[in-house]
Symmetry: C2
């Protein structure tokens, strides 16, 4: 028995998110099916980030256990031959049998992309959130800095969750405007349900001038989901990468 | 009667190109249908660039004649309400009744995007051409300069065409690498059938080291399609814009 780690990229457009669901196809389900076919044993992957419907990933991480004799680093090539074109394994390798992608320390980095222009761009419609009204990226950047550090992010957590510990650490947030594109990059030690999308929805209200930048600090202090902005739409969000500082590679 | 010009952006993924075809839906057909519905008269647009199946556009141009009293610049808003999300009218305005988008002098600018990386990126698969082997962008850039100017581009024209005059002028070509993305931007006074994609296919052979950069000059001189490289795939190509220096706006 060995444990294999996969780095998985996908276009989330045609999936009901990562996690297996009764209604609709998911990334986890497609990976299980093709891995089981390839390795001729029943495979069940464990994902690091259970991304929502329509959210994309460049570097999500999953592990599975197998008896196969195929070397860990070769599995990606064989699996990519079978997967649909909207899922690509970027890397596969053997990891210690006790490595768990959700319970081990990690830094996750997400990026949210906003197209802030007079007209939506058809080729970007599935990968950005289009906003017509001009956004003040500098104000959004200033507001975002209040979120850096260890805080109780209860205001930025969907109420549709059973999590009780809502304390997380955000290491960095960067809001950068490049022409008509605004990119918000957030890294942290973990994120609550819908946390990135609620942070972005709140920063958009700052960018529109509805909230002053320092209002974000008040929202944080109130620990109440009702005072934060709306959840920004899924298609603008991409999980960029997950770093495991303690991970040994076998 | 007045003539209205549209600037049209589209994601070409789900269309059999611009021009109406017996088998498969096209951008021209969708515009005609929704314009006829909106204006309650039979509308037939004339497109500037009849892009191929799978090719994208940010700034294609089309005109149509209408008796409507709706001001030209308002038509884009009404039409965008009706169009599918993969076609967006960026601008509409009245132009002189004798303005023809194909027969008037213009500068067309196309961009071709190559993802040159170890693995394809699922979110880019419909908008780039993925190449695994490392490309020498500097060599491609050097080769591209032989194509600038007025030349007989017969070697770079698909043989599936009736055009007899194969002389065109390329004003500029730029090959730029930005990380794993190589962008080739070409502007000229007109392009033969598949000309941009055959130029790109030839430059890729230079980038791979199969042709030295100055071999492009020999290909040009031979005036024979068989000596140029293959046609690069459609999904990497976007029509960026068309400029009409003599166009009056009414």
């Amino acid at each position: 028995m060995k444990r294999i780690m996969l780095v998985v990229a996908y276009d989330g457009t045609n999936y009901c998110g990562w996690q297996i669901q009764p209604n609709g196809i998911t990334v986890e389900e497609v990976l299980n099916r093709h891995l089981s076919d390839l390795l001729k044993e029943s495979i069940a992957v464990i994902g690091a980030s259970r991304t929502d419907s329509g959210v994309h990933a460049i570097g999500n991480v999953a592990v599975f256990d197998t008896e196969t004799k195929i070397p860990g680093e070769k599995i990606s090539f064989a699996l990519n031959q079978r997967l649909p074109k909207d899922i690509v394994i970027q890397q596969s390798r053997e990891v210690p049998i006790d490595f768990h992608p959700r319970f081990c320390n990690s830094t996750k980095t997400y990026q949210y992309r906003i197209l802030n222009s007079r007209f939506p761009l058809p080729t970007q419609r599935l990968y950005t959130h289009f906003i017509y009204y001009p956004l003040q990226a500098e104000a959004m950047s200033e507001a975002s800095k209040y979120l850096i550090g260890e805080h109780d992010f209860k205001s930025f957590c969907s109420t549709r969750t059973q999590v009780t510990d809502t304390i997380r650490t955000i290491y960095d947030i960067n809001v950068i405007r490049d022409g008509e594109m605004i990119q918000i990059t957030i890294s942290g030690n973990g994120f609550l349900y819908n946390m990135v999308r609620i942070i972005v929805g709140t920063l958009i209200k700052v960018g529109l001038g509805i909230y002053p930048p320092n209002h974000v600090k008040e929202i944080l202090d109130k620990k109440n989901r009702l005072v934060a902005g709306p959840k920004a739409p899924a298609q603008g969000l991409t999980l960029l990468k997950i770093d495991y500082p303690d991970l040994e590679v076998l």
